[in-house]
Amino acid sequence: MPSRVVVAVGTRKGLFVFEGGATSKKLELRGPFFHGMPINATFIDCRTKSPRVLAVPSSPWFGTTIQVSKDLGKKFKPTKSAPAFTADDGRTLKNVWSLGAGSHAKELLCGVEPAALFRSTDSGESWEKVSSISDHPHARTWMPGAGGLCLHTILHHGGALHLGISTGGHYASRDGMQTFEPENTGVGAAFQPVRNPEYGQCVHKIAAHPDKPERLYMMNHGGFEEDPTLGVLRSDDGGKSWTSIAKGLPSDFGFPIVVHPHDPDTVYVMPLAPNTRTCPDGNPAIWRSTSAGAKWEKLSKGLPKKDAYFTILRDGMDVDNGKKPSVWFGTTTGQLWRGREGGDEFECVASALPPIHCVKVAVVD
């Protein structure tokens, strides 16, 4: 069977799944699933023989469930339980912000609000809190940003587990989640009394490529005129220290950052106007670096040339793993865009979905 592309799109009003031939112009749309419920986290788990699509509807009234599809998003079934704090913890789960792979095929990790990490070792049927980060001595001093106090990035990379917390900063475990330490040297926080606190940064997203274990990319909260080096960062020592790679971008403010699946030097961001979090001058563009951030090029062929004022949220962009990968992004105005050939030319896949929170894509056989 030829390769298929599957796109899981979480929106403010439910989940939509697109599927079609990996290079097809036309994709089949399924959904909405969990209609009316915000979906902040989806995950396409390709570690199993048959890929699974996971989604986390979070009803403002009825709480959160973990939903799993074993048929590429045709039918979903809830797992037996969702992450939850214990009654004596004092915290109650407000939202789920990230779902990610654990260290074996049945292990899943889940980042929640208020910022905490949960682990399942049975494919999501049961969950336990990871105390080493959730009850870290810093945890009760983290503060929420505008989006809430959330653990949004879960990244196994270079033999470590990296977490992004807003506003907690970047934490890493190098001993199988027994302990976590803040690793934020060079990660600034213009909203704190000191520019470089030990922790407490408003990290937006972290990304990496497995072929370069020492390198990570980070979108940190930037957009401060007096210090344009806060927002787009790279680490060359496995996340221990970070330096700016924002030179050449129209703004160092943005939410997502993603890496090309076949080239660790190629990274994508979408700079936004810092005061409005919308496309600068109403002129949307993805920016690509093929030199690990040394130089950037604007990619806007096919995108609106003017009067476009949307936002891409932190999980609203992804790159598929096809032979010639496409860059996909969803907007807060409900458009799903696909940039073929690594973003060289964009086409609008869907124009009137609800506001898009997250986009995850995979090419499967």
């Binding site: 403002p60 009234w61 009825f62 915290r91």
Partner: protein
């Protein structure tokens, strides 16, 4: 609160969105659960024991109703009475209703 005592039998109305979790008879004109509790807190504890899959959708980890779930005893919101300590009597109707949203 009287968790040790089964308390009076109370009719409990559940949001329609959760009816599929309650195994109501499809022919029942007024689908309601019958639970026991001397007060609302004990009633919610009985809901947890007998219908955990419904309780988790209506109450948070501490056992409190979720922020957008309103609890009425007959015509009164419990916040106008004694909150979760509002006493219950045989024949009372407790309604667990999602808050209105929108304009």
């Amino acid at each position: 609160m009287s968790l040790a005592s089964p308390g009076p039998e109370i009719r409990v109305a559940i949001p329609r969105a959760l009816h599929s979790l309650c195994e109501f008879s499809p022919h029942s004109p007024h689908p309601e659960l019958t639970l026991r509790g001397a007060d609302v807190r004990a009633l919610l504890a009985d809901l947890l024991r007998r219908y955990p899959q419904v309780h988790v959708r209506l109450c948070d980890e501490r056992g409190d109703p979720r922020p957008h779930i309103n609890v009425f005893v007959n015509d009164d919101h419990v916040r106008a009475r004694a909150g979760l300590d509002t006493p219950l009597a045989e024949g009372d109707l407790v309604s667990l209703l999602p808050a209105v949203s929108g304009g």
